[in-house]
Symmetry: C2
Subunit: 204 residues, 2 copies
């Protein structure tokens, strides 16, 4: 509270309620809409400001560059679309997370965003870097599920949280992006069962 707000300080930007928070929300939504419509290469502070109905200077005060803006927009979207659950049960947390991912990547907007990111990342190192920042933060947040499972004795102490989450979500992305096989919650549950052997098919 006592420290002065700095540019790039999430506390300042994410303060709930008030005009500042509403501007933030509008800007971050505009970023993702622009990416899906026109791709990362055409994204600019000017276009985002125009779409969000705010002054360009407002964006420059809050975000240092496009990469930072995009990484934050992706984190905000995924935090609302795919929240990280904490039910007290590893299996239930994994199921809820996987089901939310299935719903998100099955939705037209989620799918369009993801496909654009993947396509653009192959061509543009800057968006690849923004994506990498985003994913490593997302994996750290989702990894909390695994760490809590380890703390409760549901997983061995040497479990690598990021590797565990990779094995949870990668089959879903393989089907979405590569093999075009169907993705549903039953498939998500099979992945969870394969990762939590011995705990049966039902909830804990």
């Amino acid at each position: 509270m006592g420290a002065p707000a700095r540019r790039g300080d999430p506390q300042r930007r994410m303060r709930p309620g008030g005009r500042s928070a509403r501007v933030n929300e509008a800007v971050l939504a505009a970023v993702l809409d622009e990416i899906v419509e026109s791709g990362y290469s055409k994204l600019s502070f000017e276009r985002v400001a125009g779409r969000a109905g705010v002054h360009k200077a407002t964006l420059y005060r809050r975000w240092a560059n496009k990469e930072e803006l995009v990484a934050e927009a992706l984190l905000a979207r995924s935090a609302s679309a795919v929240p990280v659950p904490d039910t007290g049960s590893l299996r239930e947390d994994l199921r809820r997370l996987a089901h939310a991912i299935v719903a998100h990547i099955s939705s037209p907007s989620g799918q369009a965003l993801l496909r654009t990111l993947v396509s653009d990342a192959g061509r543009d190192p800057e968006i690849a870097m923004a994506g990498r920042t985003f994913w490593s933060e997302r994996f750290a947040r989702a990894g909390a599920i695994v760490e809590r499972g380890v703390a409760r004795g549901e997983l061995p102490p040497d479990t690598d949280a990021a590797f565990f989450i990779e094995r949870l979500i990668s089959p879903l992305f393989l089907r979405l992006l590569v093999t075009a096989e169907p993705i549903d919650t039953a498939y998500a549950d099979r992945i969870v069962d394969a990762l939590c052997p011995g705990s049966g098919a039902g909830p804990d």
Copy 2:
């Protein structure tokens, strides 16, 4: 031998040696080069014939349409770049397969092809369908590794071969296409170890 060769008959097309096989090889390589350079939407029998230095009529005699031609070109490439091993050991077969995939998707040509397929598949149902034909055939071939492991008692009898192969290769594709984390043989070995628990870190 007695049956007449039909259009679309792989026996006739894949006959080793001779002019027919050389034409086949040139055409299939030209298909993939065209896709990487210009994308699936611009692919035509005319362009492929020009690049391969054969008559367009030759292509029409051998392939019914673009989808069939592309699926066969992908299968031929993957059969040579990522052969399905049969060493007598599940773990060793999985390691060799995973290492070959790492080498292939780390190579500029393999990566360019894969990225183009993924990008195009998001936009074009026809290439998505060709990709689906290709992947389901690839998974069936790689699944033989799992089936032999089941037959040798290295895996439970109810093991789903395709699902097993999905869990083997999906973390590699996640890193390549989505998270941009590094991909190497050590990572491939970790995936194999996670899928073959209890058999130790060394070869069988």
